[in-house]
């Protein structure tokens, strides 16, 4: 028998916080919250073994609601706090939760260098293609031609693809899912946490309130259908012609590599330094 999913989620929520949560009706952040909890439950991790650090944004509210060790840090800096925690106590499972603006605009440099460094962290990035919290300004992932508070005549810049950026920056594990493909998202987050080394899971999500409203897709259902119809599994995409993929994005695992892990390498440096000091 399948587990009663909702009951399971309640096990990990902080019931002394105000529910229902602060997010708008139908916001994809809530679906990612469910996926994260289900992934952690499947891994069998204790609440106390987990650290969840977020930056600022609508997505940044997530750690407030879950009963792990949590930090709600400053905008764009979730990874810097997470780096400190992981170095101080490598036995902890450290996860960061960021928005697209959080991770790739103000926190973009931290992001690419964390990927390059390969510390054992998991970065979950909720990509809703907009600055949700501050009122719909364009972010580095707002598509060309879309409308935003700061792109009232249509956006003239081009978007980052977060997962592809992470692959290029050298992350050990990179995956992309969507809030429509919730079961897959559970699996990708689980795989990301399980993977030693820096893992990135990009979750394509709907902000129908700040993004959708300005782009004629005002409700969560239409946005989720859009995600459903524009996502192509990575395996399938390999067999498709580039022009068939033009308005699509891939979902699934994009990279899974073995690379020396920062904390292991750092331990070697310590050992080497100690042995030299003894001589």
């Amino acid at each position: 028998m399948t587990k009663e999913v909702t009951k399971l989620i309640h096990k990990y929520l902080r019931h002394d916080k105000k529910f229902p949560h602060v997010w708008c009706p139908g916001c994809g952040n809530g679906i990612v919250l469910g996926a994260l909890i289900r992934a952690i439950d499947r891994l069998g991790l204790e609440k106390d073994e987990i650290v969840l650090a977020s930056g600022i944004g609508c997505s940044g509210r997530m750690p407030v609601y879950v009963d792990f060790n949590t930090l709600h840090t400053t905008h764009g800096r979730a990874l810097t706090f997470a780096t400190g925690i992981k170095l101080a106590k490598p036995s902890l499972t450290v996860i960061t939760l960021m928005g697209d603006g959080d991770a790739t605009a103000i926190g973009g440099n931290h992001f690419i260098h964390a990927a390059r460094r390969n510390l054992d962290l998991t970065a979950i990035i909720i990509n809703n293609q907009i600055y949700g919290m501050t009122g719909g300004q364009h972010s580095p992932t707002t598509p060309y031609g879309c409308y935003a508070t700061t792109a009232t005549y249509g956006h003239i810049e081009h978007a980052f693809s977060i997962a592809e950026l992470a692959v290029t920056a050298g992350a050990a594990f990179v995956a992309r899912g969507t809030v429509y493909h919730a079961r897959l998202l559970d699996e990708l987050i689980e795989a990301g946490i399980r993977k030693p080394g820096f893992s990135v899971v990009e979750a394509m999500s709907n902000c129908h309130v700040q993004f959708g409203r300005r782009n004629q897709i005002e409700d969560p259902v239409t946005m989720m259908k859009w995600l459903r119809d524009h996502a192509v599994a990575t395996e399938k995409a390999r067999k498709m012609k580039p022009d068939a993929l033009e308005d699509k994005f891939t979902i699934g695992v994009l990279a899974d590599l073995e690379k020396p892990i920062y904390t292991d390498e750092y331990q070697k440096v310590r050992d080497r330094a100690k042995s030299l000091a003894r001589q």
Binding site: E4, V5, T6, P20, H21, W23, G30, G34, M224
Partner: protein, 104 residues
């Protein structure tokens, strides 16, 4: 966003919808698994996701977009609604027909 209050009407609809019914229970000798769909009205924000995507049209919606359980016996337990509810406000429970009948 203030929580929408559970109206008496919807509470009653839930009760009716989830009343144990044995009529469709047995199909060609094989026991069909039945499910109850429970909505936590205090947390539900009437986003419309569960009713829009239910493959068996078990869930309809009221004029605010809130879920109304219409065909509980048609539920196949796929849990799409439960996995995609952003507010953890709907849950699917395997219906225990025997014990529910005893209680009734």
């Amino acid at each position: 966003m203030p929580p929408k209050k559970k109206t008496q009407q919807t509470a009653k609809q839930d009760r009716i919808a989830n009343k144990p019914r044995a009529s469709k229970h047995k199909q060609s000798g094989k026991i069909k698994e039945l499910f109850n769909q429970v909505v936590f009205r205090d947390w539900c924000k009437a986003c419309g996701i569960c009713s829009a995507f239910c493959p068996k049209k078990v869930i309809g919606h009221d004029d605010r977009g809130g879920p109304v359980i219409k065909r509980p016996d048609d539920c196949i337990g796929c849990r799409f609604c439960e996995l995609h509810c952003p507010d953890v406000a709907i849950t699917i429970i395997v219906r225990d027909v025997e014990s529910e009948r005893d209680r009734a």
